[in-house]
């Protein structure tokens, strides 16, 4: 066992990690389960790059991509010092993560190279990112105590659009479900449920009656009005853009992050780091490395 891997495993064990990171990349979580003790640091965010059909994850100390639905992962190079807490993928394949202290980093080559961008963004951490559902150059960033910024040139220039929901934002997505005055909707997971606003920023309203903290939200790109929300104990589904919610009885356990891929495939990440996958129309979930 090399020094790098040994160090990573030790750090992982201290943090209760199931997943470990080597200098060469990620290793499948379950393969290390017997070597580590405790649970992995919980994945902070999932995203799906529709251009490359890769699953993406950001876990607070690195980011990685998977071409096989979460079975194997490859580290996105150049992000070791950034501790990304969010990740977004534009429909054209451009990737975004928050910068180490402020601004964002963007990649036009699938995560091999990253360019920093702070123009128009305040010197505060970006907490949430959302790529426009069908405009490749439009992306949104939430900066705590400042609000939601929008870029329409692939993350180069940013503009403050809105203060955001009063309750704050844990996670943000953009869906192109119909009915907006402009081109879609922003849906935010927050401490008191789900908030929703048209992307012309006409004001935020509570979406449905989910109470308590919502960890993550997602939408089905194959059916944009279908929205998902992950709370501490359950996964919820809405067929009307968040107006009404039903418990997803198929979910085996609570997830801390989720993302839906084309074809209505749904990925969830558990608190122990395991990636789960549910195929379209399926009534059960599979571990990604099953």
């Amino acid at each position: 066992m090399n020094r790098g891997r040994r160090a990573a495993l030790a750090a992982g064990a201290r943090a209760g990690a199931v997943l470990a990171v080597t200098t060469a990349g990620w290793l499948p979580g379950l393969a290390l389960a017997s070597e580590a003790t405790g649970d992995a640091p919980a994945p902070v965010a999932l995203a799906f790059d529709r251009r490359s059909a890769k699953l993406l994850r950001a876990s607070g100390h690195a980011a990685a991509s998977s071409s096989d639905g979460g079975r194997h992962w490859t580290a996105l190079q150049g992000l070791q010092a950034t501790r990304p807490a969010a990740i977004a993928a534009g429909i054209g394949g451009r990737l975004y993560v928050p910068g180490p202290a402020a601004g964002i980093l963007r990649s036009d080559d699938g995560g091999r190279h990253w360019i920093a961008s702070t123009s128009g963004l305040p010197q505060q951490p970006v907490r949430a990112l959302a790529a426009h559902a069908d405009r490749p150059d439009t992306v949104y960033a939430n900066v705590e105590r400042h609000g939601i910024y929008r870029s329409e040139d692939g993350g180069r220039q940013w503009r403050l659009m809105d203060a955001g929901p009063r309750e704050g934002i844990a996670r943000l997505i953009h869906t192109n479900m119909p009915g907006s005055m402009k081109s879609g909707w922003l849906v935010a997971a927050g401490p008191h449920g789900v908030q929703r606003a048209m992307d012309c920023f006409c004001g935020w309203r509570k979406a449905g009656s989910l109470a308590g903290p919502v960890r993550d939200v997602g939408f089905d790109p194959s059916l944009p009005s279908r929205v998902f929300a992950a709370t501490a104990s359950q996964l919820w589904t809405s067929e009307d853009g968040g107006e009404t919610w039903t418990v997803d009885a198929t979910a085996p356990t609570a997830v801390v992050a989720l993302v839906a891929a084309p074809g209505s495939v749904l990925y969830g990440a558990r608190a122990d780091g395991q990636i789960l996958r549910r195929a379209a129309g399926a009534t059960s979930w599979q571990a990604a490395d099953a």
């Binding site: 503009r159 659009m161 119909p178 005055m181 012309c200 920023f201």
Partner: protein, 149 residues
């Protein structure tokens, strides 16, 4: 006692006077203000202040008319979007009724009248809001039918 000729002249004088009283708008801004007073103020308020409680659905589950002044969000929308909404109307998809949230005025107002009333709304905004809206409108301008003549 006035005879029929006197009455006819008096009537013609009254009609002439009435026509002169309803003078054509001197400027586009005058036109915009007249259109707003005649078509918009009933819902959006005489000064564009909106309806009370406009940020939440009312008892019938519809969104009340929002303000058009600096307290609203009209200034966040491009000229193209505002024009489309005034012309075609719009319905909040989460209204509990099927009625349009904003009626369509395309059959009532000419393109120039629609443009005039939108341009008049801009006088209700702060300079920063006007600048923001101008930037939003750079790639989303008024349609050709509403070009200034």
């Amino acid at each position: 006692m006035p005879n029929a000729l006197h009455l006819a002249c008096a009537s013609m004088l009254l009609v002439a006077t009435a026509s002169c009283g309803a003078a054509q708008p001197a400027t586009a801004q005058d036109l915009g203000r007249r259109v707003f007073a005649a078509q918009c103020a009933t819902c959006h308020g005489a000064t564009g202040q909106g309806q009370p409680g406009w940020q939440e659905p009312d008892a019938s589950g519809e969104m009340p008319a929002p303000p058009h002044d600096r307290n609203g969000h009209t200034w966040k929308h491009s000229d193209a979007m505002l024009y489309r909404i005034v012309k075609e109307g719009w319905r909040d998809p989460y209204n509990k009724t099927q009625r349009l949230s904003m009626p369509a005025f395309g059959a009532t107002l000419s393109p120039q009248e629609i443009r005039a009333v939108i341009d008049d709304l801009k006088t209700l905004w702060t300079p920063q809001q006007r600048s923001f809206q101008q930037q939003e409108s750079r790639k989303a301008t008024y349609p050709p039918e509403a070009r200034l003549r």
